[in-house]
Amino acid sequence: MNFSSLLNTALDDLLAQVRPVLAIVHNGRRGAGAGVLVGDGLVLTSNHVVARGRSFKVTLNDDASYEARVLSHDPETDLALLSIPANGGTSAVFSERDPRPGELVFAFGHPWGERAVLTGGVLSAVTTARTPRGEIPILRTDARLAPGNSGGPLLNAAGEVIGLNAMIFGGDQGIAIPASVIRKFLGMARSRVPANAVPEGVI
């Protein structure tokens, strides 16, 4: 096989691997965000997707929709965890490696409401962003992001999640919350221990 068909096969494999873990998160208002299944019927998304929502619904890759409740959310890292009564076993694979600037990345989400769109680029920077309470590590990418990508996974070339797409700065800079921060958030949210990072909204 030539290089181009090997590349296409690799992309097909990547899509097949991540499609089942991508969700749509409706917040009862206009627009929707993306989400990632993280096992135990839990769906990770961006806090700003659910922040001002009233009722939440999660649609999975097989088109099944479920009522969801917010289990935990953290405005500082812009992460939120929802619970749905389904898909206990399905979970995204999170990368264990340190992200490297220049490596290929893919954003998976629903930009402008179009379902399951993959955009590509490289990891632009491993840096930090200032928040009202300090600094948090962030990733920046030149992969094209749009409203509807929020809460969707940023993937490496192996299809592992290296971050959660959070927002768009200045038209061309996508921001993602790195896997290391997500892991901490999930650890705390799962143990339901109210910690500093999850000050309120913990049920």
Binding site: F3, L6, D13, P101, G102, E103, A125, V126, A157
Partner: protein, 297 residues
């Protein structure tokens, strides 16, 4: 899990890391810092427009060490500046020869202490010569990489981690272009030696003209245009060599000259103070006249 996608990804990350060791942060303006490329152990090539001051310049190397620097030379025409480090601690970059349309490239920058930054794209076009605000550049590269803030002065790298060119947004309209490495390195060499780029002086006024089919036949090549001399200044290299009003310049040093931009480009670089063959059409016949090209003041 290894596949070609992962291999390509690893190669791009390795390229960013390799060029990153020669990519420095340049602190020479009030806004956010810009980027530079190590040309020599003590020489940093960057964009001229990001060097807004002559004093208090510092360069932060890839290992985080901060080294004071002074301006070794500037060239407005190509928007390049060369900085000299107080201590020779930089790792000179490796350059690549030619950029090909369609090839994968990374634009790199180091606008903060957080580390190297990257943006992916392809070479969209290779063009030139082109007029700039303060001169002309012989050749340029255009890419679809994203020029993030502070990327000016930084490298455009190929997938092997070699420098293809220097990125700058200093030519106005906010558009970023890349100065090819061979051209940028030539300018750097002159800046290191003379502190400025010397431009050649012929002492002629000229105008573009079409070359007749008969004259092209006499030239033994297809060349549709040249520059007709409408004035020769007294005591100029052109006069000393015997160039006359009405001569049509068609080539300098064996390189065809179709336009003013090309004449301008041919007169920069190594031609100054050298006897250089200037090919003209005189009475429809080609002649080669050696001109000792002077330096423009």
């Amino acid at each position: 899990m290894s596949n070609v996608l992962v291999e390509l990804s690893n190669a791009m990350a390795a390229a960013a890391e390799k060029v990153g060791t020669s990519t420095v942060m340049v602190n020479a303006r009030r806004r956010i810092p810009a980027t530079g490329i190590a040309y020599g152990a003590d020489l940093i090539l960057t964009a001229n427009h990001v060097v807004e001051r002559e004093e208090g310049i510092t360069v932060t190397l890839s290992d985080g060490s901060e080294v004071p620097a002074t301006v070794a030379g500037r060239d407005h025409g190509t928007d390049l500046a060369l900085l000299r480090l107080e201590r020779p601690l930089a790792k000179p970059a490796e350059t690549a020869q030619d950029a090909k349309v369609g090839q994968l490239v990374l634009a790199l920058g180091r606008p903060s202490e957080a580390g190297i930054e990257a943006s992916l794209g392809v070479v969209s076009a290779v063009g030139g010569p082109v007029h700039t605000r303060h001169g002309a550049i012989d050749k340029y590269i255009r890419t679809d990489t994203t020029p993030f803030p502070g990327f000016s002065g930084g490298p455009l790298a190929d997938a092997d981690g070699r420098v293809v060119g220097l990125n700058t947004s200093g030519f106005g309209h906010g558009a970023a272009i890349t100065i090819p490495a061979d051209l940028a390195w030539k300018v750097a060499e002159q800046l290191a030696k003379h502190g400025s780029v010397r431009r050649g002086y012929l002492g002629v006024r000229s105008q573009g003209v079409e070359i007749s089919a008969a004259a092209q036949k006499a030239l033994k090549r297809e060349q549709a245009t040249g520059l007709i001399l409408i004035g020769v200044e007294s005591d100029s290299p052109a006069e000393a060599a015997g160039l006359m009003v009405g001569d049509i310049i068609v080539a300098i040093d064996g390189q065809p000259v179709h336009s003013h931009d090309e004449l301008f480009a041919r007169l920069s670089g190594d031609v100054i103070d050298k006897s250089t063959p200037v090919e003209v059409l005189r009475g429809g016949q080609p002649q080669s006249i050696n001109v000792k090209i002077g330096a423009r003041k």
